[in-house]
């Protein structure tokens, strides 16, 4: 393992007993290295094994196989040392609803062996940095979804962890709150905390993460920066829409053998052309297809999304897979 790795796993696995003696392989022999100082994301549909992987790394679940070191400690034998160095914000948050935000933070600070005075100073600092003044002294049950998330985040960093785990940090939030949470996550990262998060939002992985592992059915199917992953898709996509199939077919014939075209795909009255550097290729492609008798009705140039990557790697769309819910993530 590299010395800079804050998380290192070898063949990390988790099997759950399923119905009728069947075994659910939630996580299958995952090898992972997360470098100190990065924001690393696990992207995948519900049931892909993201949360299970995270729960194992957070000491909440005992792995069925493989090894891992987290923050320099062995997961199997030094769970309590790991707990001192990590922060964790689960999907449910975990605030005591009838206590105020400040009381919740105080309890957690004290559980990390801080004295009351030290804890109070730490909480004051977080209140200021995360802008909690307006609600920190109200009971948690009165919070909006966004306020709850920000307080969860404050609770997750109460011990100034080296490594912060965020399990689907913005699921269920409105777009404004989501952006606010992203900003605060970046803020925590700037303070020197490594961040490991799970998400099934492409935009979130794209906007926040330095590196992303795409997970499907308990395996990592792709790993890299969002830009690298998107490069795996053959370039950009030019979609030419015609009045009928004949127009699209004629355009396809005109582009036959063209050096610019990496791949093309005919779907009804639409011709999809895969090219490198779509912005430069678009005028040239239009010139070629313009020689035909059928004028194109509309043209779209699109860059590949992480959904296209997922589609290419698994044959399924990330959004479709969400609905499947093959097995519960916990």
């Amino acid at each position: 393992m590299s010395a800079a790795s804050i998380i290192h796993t070898e063949k990390l696995s988790k099997r759950f007993p399923g119905r009728k003696k069947e075994v659910v392989e939630a996580v299958r022999e995952i090898d992972l290295d997360v470098a100190r100082g990065e924001i690393f994301g696990l992207l995948g549909p519900n049931g892909a094994g993201k949360t299970t992987t995270m729960r194992m790394l957070c000491t909440l679940l005992v792995p069925s196989g493989g090894t891992a070191t987290v923050a320099g400690f062995d997961l199997a034998s030094q769970a309590n040392e790991i707990r001192k160095h990590i922060g964790y914000v689960g999907q449910k948050g975990g605030l005591e609803q009838v206590a105020t935000g400040r009381e919740n933070l105080m309890l957690h600070a004290q559980l990390y062996r801080m004295g009351r005075a030290e804890a109070a100073r730490r909480i004051d600092a977080l209140v200021e940095r995360l802008k909690l003044e307006s609600f920190v002294d109200r009971k948690a049950e009165t919070y909006s979804g966004g306020q709850r998330r920000i307080l969860d985040l404050a609770s997750g960093v109460i011990n100034a962890p080296e490594l912060l785990f965020l399990d689907e940090p913005t699921t269920g939030l409105d777009p404004q709150s989501r952006v606010r949470v992203w900003d605060e996550v970046r803020g925590v990262h700037e303070q020197g905390t490594t961040i490991f998060l799970t998400t099934h939002y492409l935009e979130e992985a794209d906007a926040l993460c330095h590196r992303v592992a795409i997970v499907d059915l308990g395996r990592i199917v792709a790993l890299g920066t969002p830009a690298e992953l998107k490069k795996q898709i053959a370039g950009d996509i030019i979609a030419l829409n015609y009045d009928d199939e004949n127009g699209a077919a004629a355009a396809s014939r005109l582009l036959e053998g063209n050096a610019l075209v990496l791949e093309k795909h005919l779907a009804g009255a639409t011709l999809q052309v895969y090219v490198d550097h779509g912005d430069e290729a678009l005028p040239a492609v239009l010139r070629v297809v313009g020689q035909g008798q059928h004028p194109a009705k509309t043209v779209q140039l699109s860059r590949p999304t992480l959904d296209d990557v997922f589609l290419k790697l698994t044959g399924r769309s990330l959004r479709d897979s969400d609905a499947e819910q093959k097995h519960q993530a916990y």
């Binding site: 957070c58 707990r83 689960g90 975990g94 605030l95 004290q110």
Partner: protein, 250 residues
């Protein structure tokens, strides 16, 4: 140790903020005291009942019933904490699983003692005569029962996600345990099969001991039996709960 107090204090604060459950838990025994006690008075001279004063017979049983039901349903508070993610949040802190388990047990114990004292005060107004030393011993017995029931209830809550199923399972055991213990009516009223079943109900010993302790007969054989039975059960169930907390995947 400090962690255990932190959890206990936090849980007690939560109870104080929302004392409805604690107070409503007392409704049931108080209603029995108000409505069922007078009924017993009517048959107080019947054989098998201590002559004359039904409250001396009934109130000690009610105290045991309150422990049986009150602590028996503590699992629901833990279920809430699992559902809200609160317990999970605690489990990623360096707090020991032992402190966590004991914190919950402490909270339920403090709650139960307060309820029991409140119930004894109520029973005074109905004419209960209580021996002081016996009363103190009785509170200890109630504590052991509370630890036993809360441990079982918490342990079940760790594995049963569905609140309705949890309630069903707890009721299935708690209700027969209550009837066979002779809290409501003496078991001697029943046929031999009932009397035989009652003898394997640990709460029969607790109720008998409670009645003896109220009058100050500490030397009664039922007192020793009850302390032995519930001392052992409390230790066993607590160990099972602590083990469950260590293993828990929730």
């Amino acid at each position: 140790m400090r962690d255990m107090y932190l959890i206990t204090l936090n849980e007690l604060r939560v109870t104080m903020r929302n004392p409805f459950w604690s107070i409503s838990g007392l409704f049931q025994p108080i209603i029995y005291l108000l409505l069922f006690g007078p009924l017993l008075n009517g048959i107080a001279s019947t054989r098998g009942l201590p002559g004359g004063n039904a409250i001396q017979f009934f109130a000690p049983g009610l105290l045991i019933m309150n422990a049986l039901f009150g602590a028996g349903f503590e699992g629901f508070t833990l279920r809430d904490k699992l559902d809200s993610g609160f317990l999970e949040r605690l489990r990623v802190t360096p707090i020991s699983r032992l402190s966590l388990a004991l914190g919950f047990i402490m909270q339920s114990s403090v709650n139960l003692v307060i309820q029991s004292v409140a119930l004894i005060v109520c029973a005074f107004f109905f004419g209960l005569r209580l021996d002081v030393l016996g009363g103190v011993a009785l509170v200890f017995l109630i504590l052991l029962i509370g630890i036993t029931m809360a441990s079982i209830s918490y342990r079940l809550a760790l594995v049963i996600r569905e609140g309705g199923i949890l309630a069903g399972i707890i009721n299935t055991f708690v209700l027969p345990a209550m009837i066979l213990s002779g809290i409501m009516l003496p078991v001697s009223f029943g046929p031999p099969i009932i009397q035989w079943l009652a003898r394997i109900d640990p709460f029969l010993y607790a109720v008998n001991a409670s009645r003896a302790l109220v009058t100050g007969t500490l030397a009664d054989s039922s007192v020793l039996a009850a302390f032995l039975v519930f001392g052992a059960l409390a230790a066993l169930t607590l160990a099972i709960f602590i083990h469950g907390m260590r293993e828990a995947v929730a």
